[in-house]
């Protein structure tokens, strides 16, 4: 267990309460909508803010412990922090920026080489592109030899066309880093590309961590399903016959206790020819034909169901009225509140 965080902090009427762990050599994504307290969490770990309660431990070293009265200053925490706008010192050149973190000239040279910054060594941050600025920020972080990396929305300062390229660059960089890495983001794409595990933060409260693959296949909470952009979410209701029903689709569902809603990914909905168990009928309203798949909004008596079908399957159908679809029971995702 390389990084353990379990803290509470009140900020006005908002209470941050997060607990998670970050493993060595793994990237953990803190995923949440903006204003959910992700950046505050990073600032607490770095020692820039003081939590009200709890404990932070890094590699067996206690960085913060409310009960024991331990609160190391940021200078002694050995944390690498990539700020949203990189926070490069505007009056220093590239090499001076890196030299803030180390007195060793040779290390600065080595980092300039490694991050392909040698031609830009005498430039100031204002003269660099977004991608170059990020490389300077990363080089500067490594110069301080951190034990953990904290990345705050690493791509928010970049133009969309640069993002893909720099995501690749960052993922190669992260693969070489042996400590734990924490990445704050609101984008599921970044989680998919860069993170091994995910911790959803919703309204300041962290949810149990999940493996990235598992998170995308079966999110556990309503907020997680919303962050994934899953459009088919239905409340559940206990019927008079003792079974649970998904009220937005009007079909019975089998769910574990504690479930408040169910969801299904649009590509898990199947096109079928007639009625049966877990099936419903509606008219195709909004139809969007893509290269490989077709997105159809099916208007059922209870509400709209978003369906994604392979293009071949849809073209055989050629009728947009009275479409029968099936929601396979094993693809229905039970969701808890939160």
């Amino acid at each position: 267990m390389a990084l353990t965080v379990d803290i509470k902090k009140r900020l006005g009427k908002f209470t941050l309460q997060v607990s998670f762990t970050g493993e060595l050599g793994e990237v953990t994504g803190l995923l949440g909508a903006s204003g959910s307290g992700k950046t505050v969490t990073l600032q607490c770990i770095a020692g820039l803010l003081t939590p009200d309660e709890g404990r932070i431990e890094l590699d067996g070293r206690v960085l913060f412990d409310h009960r024991a009265g331990i609160h190391l200053p940021p200078q002694q925490r050995n944390v690498g922090y990539l700020f949203q706008q990189y926070a490069l010192f505007p009056h220093y050149t590239v090499e001076q920026n890196i030299a803030v973190a180390t007195r060793n000239r040779e290390e600065v040279e080595e980092l300039l080489r490694r991050f392909h910054l040698e031609p830009h060594r005498k430039k100031r941050p204002g003269q660099l592109s977004g991608g170059q600025q990020q490389r300077v920020a990363l080089a500067r972080i490594l110069a301080a030899k951190p034990q953990v990396l904290l990345l705050d929305e690493p791509f928010s300062a970049l133009d969309t066309h640069l993002r893909g390229e720099i995501q690749g660059e960052l993922s190669r960089f992260l693969a070489q880093f042996s400590g734990p890495c924490l990445m704050v983001t609101h984008s599921q794409d970044e989680v998919r590309r860069l993170c091994h595990r995910v911790c959803v933060v919703h309204d300041g409260v962290s949810q149990p961590m999940q493996d990235t693959a598992e998170f995308f296949a079966r999110p556990r909470t309503l907020s997680a399903a919303r962050l994934l952009g899953c459009p088919n979410i239905s409340p559940v209701e206990h019927g008079t016959d003792g079974t649970w029903y998904a009220t937005a689709w009007g079909i019975p569902v089998e769910i574990p206790p504690g479930t408040s809603r169910v969801a299904i990914h649009p590509h898990h909905v199947r096109l079928v020819s007639g009625p049966g168990q877990g099936r419903l009928c509606g008219n195709g309203t909004h139809i969007e034909v893509g290269i490989f798949s077709v997105n159809v909004d099916v208007a059922t008596p209870c509400g709209i169901l978003h369906v994604e079908l392979p293009r071949g399957v849809w073209e055989e159908k050629n009728d947009t009225q009275s479409i029968w679809v099936e929601l396979p029971q094993d693809q229905i995702i039970p969701l808890m509140d939160g």
Binding site: Q43, A46, G47, L48, P73, P74, Q75, R77, V79, G80, Y81, F83, Q85, A87, L88, F89, P90, H91, V100, A101, R140, I141, A143, A144
Partner: protein, 218 residues
């Protein structure tokens, strides 16, 4: 022409500016971190000398630094040093009157400073003192330089409080502004005009320097 008033004015302005520079930065740094209520109160107190008539400032200074004042009396009794009617008395009056200019511009600069830069340097392991002198001050350079120059110019031209606390003794406490008044009062218009021209020249140079600095920043 006796150049003593010019030299005296310059050394008074230089000393009071040096004093204001450090005290002003310190006050601006401390107050920009205070809670809104304390900030509001301290801000009013520290800005008062800017709007009070200089004679009122002079009167208050005499109450404190005069032979019967609690600081002046103490210093005279124990160190045998007078704080009024000597050339360096004008350092206190110029500093008091020019202080708000430095304090307010520096505070404005500190408030618009991007605190994340301090965070970044802290995480990289630098001490808070190093960060203040090497990151925060250079990033707020423009406001601080402007405040210093304005304070210097104001200190150089101080008349009201200075004439009350340092008086006018030719060759001892005479400054440019008190000299102009003295020559005009005694009907020596030609000499008064000369000193007026000296004063105009210095002020023009100071303003020119501000403009050049601003252009260089861009």
């Amino acid at each position: 022409m006796d150049f003593y008033p010019l030299l005296n004015s310059l050394r008074i302005a230089a000393l009071s500016t040096a004093l204001i520079f450090f005290v002003g930065l310190w006050a601006a740094q401390v107050i920009s971190r205070c809670s809104p209520l304390i900030k509001g109160v301290l801000d009013v107190v520290l800005t008062l000398p800017l709007v009070l008539p200089p004679t009122v400032v002079g009167y208050l200074l005499l109450c404190i630094l005069g032979p019967n004042g609690w600081v002046g009396g103490f210093v005279e009794r124990w160190l045998d040093v007078r704080l009024t009617m000597v050339w360096y008395a004008a350092v206190f009056s110029s500093a008091a009157v020019a202080f708000p200019l430095m304090y307010r511009t520096a505070r404005g600069a500190f408030e618009s400073y991007n605190k994340t830069l301090t965070y970044a340097a802290q995480v990289l392991g630098r001490s808070n003192r190093w960060i203040f002198w090497h990151i925060q001050l250079p990033c707020c350079r423009q406001g601080i330089v402007a405040g210093t120059v304005l304070a210097f110019a104001r200190a150089l031209g101080e008349y009201g409080a200075t004439s009350m606390i340092a008086g006018y003794t030719p060759g001892k406490t005479a400054t440019i502004s008190t000299t102009v008044y003295q020559f005009w009062r005694t009907g020596n218009d030609a000499m008064a005009l000369r000193w007026v021209l000296v004063n105009l020249a210095i002020s023009a140079v100071v303003l020119l320097a501000i403009n050049l600095l601003e252009r260089k920043e861009r």
